[in-house]
């Protein structure tokens, strides 16, 4: 048997081993995406949902949703929400990671305790924050008024100006421990000798941070930002429970808007089109992430 032959055989059995995963992906991930994609070019509404043949209407669904002001509002809110959450949870998460890396007595336990926020189902978090942010009975307003920060309780989720910040606040609370854990793992993987030798060379702690910590933490930072982006950009349950996209679209994001088109107004194909807009955004970011990882691996090797 020649060498090439052996390699071929190995290749084939390799494909055989990944087959179950491929079948799973095609059936449970690929099929809905393709179905949704096709539907966004068809006319599917109350009258045609059940009919066997659906009329293809080209880009009419996209034209329809792009002409309504709600889509632009949803995209704007989604971007604002994602940016707000990412900045807040990354900065605080990073600071906490550095803090817990200082090596005082019981940091392991404290760090473990903080991840509780990340493990609570987001619908539960949504309800908790909905209560806490209420102007009549919420603890946040109670504290703000008691400490004299504000005179009147603020209707966080009722006012169009503050509602988006209310949901950003709640989501950041979930996201901070997630950022912290990933970044702490990255921090502990940096060898201590590097800092020691830098100290011997007389580097300041700021210099150590910018020249050792940040560059060596880059892969962890990339993954935390990209995973955080995907997780935040496709938010649904948190906003659905806290505000249902309201008041008057103030917290409407792409996912809640697509949901409403499909399941509140029964404009199914327009809902599919809106979901595709969301999908394209995430797909582009996902590709960018893969490229970054590959570049990172090339640099390392």
């Amino acid at each position: 048997m020649s060498k090439a032959h052996v390699r071929n055989g190995e290749g084939l059995s390799g494909y055989f081993f990944v087959l179950p995963a491929v079948i799973f992906m095609v059936a449970f991930i690929g099929y809905p995406i393709i179905y949704n994609f096709v539907m966004s070019f068809q006319k599917v509404d109350i009258m045609t949902l059940k009919s066997a043949t659906r009329e293809f209407i080209g880009l009419a669904n996209f034209r329809e949703i792009f002409s309504a002001p709600e889509l632009a509002i949803s995209i704007g809110n989604t971007v604002m929400y994602t940016a707000g959450c990412l900045v807040i949870q990354f900065v605080i998460g990073f600071l906490l990671a550095v803090f817990f890396n200082l090596g005082f007595g019981f940091q392991e336990k404290l760090r473990g305790l903080m991840t509780v926020a990340w493990m609570i189902p987001s619908t539960v978090v949504a309800l908790l924050f909905k209560f806490m942010l209420s102007p009549s009975s919420g603890i946040i307003n109670y504290l703000l008024v008691a400490t004299g920060v504000v005179k009147e309780p603020i209707g966080w989720l009722i006012s169009q100006k503050t509602a988006l910040w209310g949901v950003i606040f709640a989501n950041s609370w979930i996201g901070i421990p997630f950022n912290m854990i990933l970044l702490s793992t990255g921090l502990t993987s940096i060898p201590g000798e590097l800092y020691e030798s830098a100290s011997i060379d007389g580097a300041s702690s700021i210099r150590k941070f910018t020249s050792i910590t940040v560059p060596l933490l880059k892969p962890a930072i990339y993954s935390v930002l990209v995973l955080g982006f995907i997780y935040t950009f496709k938010v649904f349950d948190l906003i659905y429970v806290m505000t249902n996209g309201g008041p008057v679209h103030a917290t409407e994001v792409l996912s809640t808007y697509a949901y409403k088109l499909s399941f509140v107004m029964y404009r199914f194909s327009e809902g599919a089109a809106a979901a595709n807009v969301l999908f394209v955004c995430l797909f582009v970011v996902g590709l960018g992430y893969l490229k970054l990882i590959r570049e990172g691996e090339e640099i390392q090797s």
Binding site: K50, G155, V248, K260, Y266
Partner: protein
């Protein structure tokens, strides 16, 4: 030979036993409040009343249920019998979810005995797609002690309501609570105000509609009604009333028992929703239909008939705080006329307007609730909000 005979007769016996098993009929509903155990009782009484059909009921929350119907239509799991909120029935009839039962209706004793409003919600393009199961409407609840202390009588007009709110509102207490949430539930609560000024759903930008929305918006502006109403469900409004944070509220008969349980020592009463030109209320309620591809349509029909028997319908409605949609049941029963609280709802039922029926009602409703939310949050003026709503309604109707 004997052996074969024995085996054959054995098989026969087994098949006989198997066929004697009752046919299982799956039913989906969304009763989740105090009405839930009473509906379960109807199901278990039906199962006990005969041996051929066994109904198994499953509770699915309202929004989830409607979503499951649409998903089920495209290729999924559907029950044999489904419950639907009456303003949504026409949409699902148009989608083809329900079986046409027009032929079964003929010759059934219940045919022609339903009130017009609930009945019409089951009819789409002249065909019958379901049976009304229960009805309800809205009225004004008021805290008798608070009204007495403030020296006001129960308001009957909008002007009286404003005056009463002015006297009743104080720190920690709002004059009135309604549900102004952005969904069908909120539309349901908003429509009595629209209809009372003489406006119609067909013309949401009429001066009468604008007057109605301006009136409610002013209640919020003046501080008589919480701006939080835009996030309140009817259950939330009930909590505000029962805890004494609102002196009055608009709510339905299904919350009578909730107020009694939450505030056993509170003194309260009911009256008609204050009017501008005419008294108005909106018809709510649920219907049941047989799902289009059910393999057990005959058995499902047996349950629908049982559920609509005068005594079954009456005892469920009495226990669950609802009204029977059958006129003969309503008229022959003394219960709704003698109970001082239910009497008020019974009077409101007489002019309760059905929503729709129209297959595009969900879109119309969506335009309406967006409009009052825009006005309540001061995002748009009542006039602008309703003008924009009318544009959306016109567009939905031509599509």
């Amino acid at each position: 030979m004997k052996k074969i005979l024995a085996i054959l007769s054995g098989l026969l016996l087994v098949s006989f036993l198997v066929s004697a098993e009752p046919t299982e009929v799956k039913l989906w509903h969304y009763f989740s409040g105090p009405d839930a155990p009473w509906f379960e009782k109807v199901v278990s009484d039906f199962n006990a009343s005969q041996t051929k059909v066994k109904v198994t009921s499953q509770m699915v929350p309202r929004e989830e249920l409607l979503k499951q119907y649409t998903i089920g239509l495209v290729g999924g799991n559907l029950p044999d019998i489904g419950m639907v909120d009456n303003p949504e029935h026409a949409s699902f009839s148009a989608m083809g979810l329900f079986l046409d039962i027009s032929d079964r209706m003929k010759g059934w004793e219940g045919d022609g005995k339903f009130f017009k409003g609930p009945w019409k919600s089951c009819v789409y393009q002249g065909k019958v797609y379901g049976i009304p199961h229960n009805s309800n409407c809205l009225a004004l609840y008021y805290n008798t002690d608070m009204l007495k202390a403030a020296g006001v009588t129960p308001p009957t007009t909008w002007d009286e309501l404003t005056a009463a709110c002015k006297k009743l509102t104080k720190p920690g207490v709002y004059g009135l609570a309604i549900c102004g949430i952005g969904n069908e539930e909120g539309t349901f609560q908003f429509l009595p105000w629209i209809l009372s000024s003489g406006a119609t759903v067909e013309k949401m930008d009429s001066p009468e509609s604008i007057k109605s929305l301006t009136y409610l918006t002013d209640l919020i502006k003046k501080g008589y009604m919480s701006s939080e109403v835009i996030n309140w469900t009817q259950a939330d409004a009930e909590k505000q009333f029962a805890t004494g944070r609102a002196a009055m509220m608009v709510n339905g008969p299904w919350n009578l028992s909730a107020v009694k349980t939450d505030a056993p020592s509170m003194n309260w009463n009911l009256t008609k929703i204050p009017k501008d030109k005419v008294y108005a209320s909106v018809l709510g309620g649920e219907n049941f239909g047989i799902i289009y591809n059910s393999k057990h349509a005959n058995e499902a029909w047996e349950f629908l008939k049982y559920m609509s028997l005068p005594n079954v319908m009456e005892s469920f409605a009495m226990a669950a705080g609802k009204f029977p949609p059958r006129s003969d049941v309503m008229n022959n029963s003394k219960y709704w006329k003698s109970d001082p609280l239910l009497k008020v709802f019974a009077e409101q039922m007489e002019f309760a307007m059905p929503r729709g029926p129209h297959p595009k009602w969900p879109e119309i409703s969506s335009a309406i609730f967006t409009a009052y939310q825009e006005s309540f949050t001061m995002t748009k003026s009542p006039t602008q909000a309703l003008k924009d709503a009318q544009k959306k309604i016109d567009k939905a109707l031509v599509k």
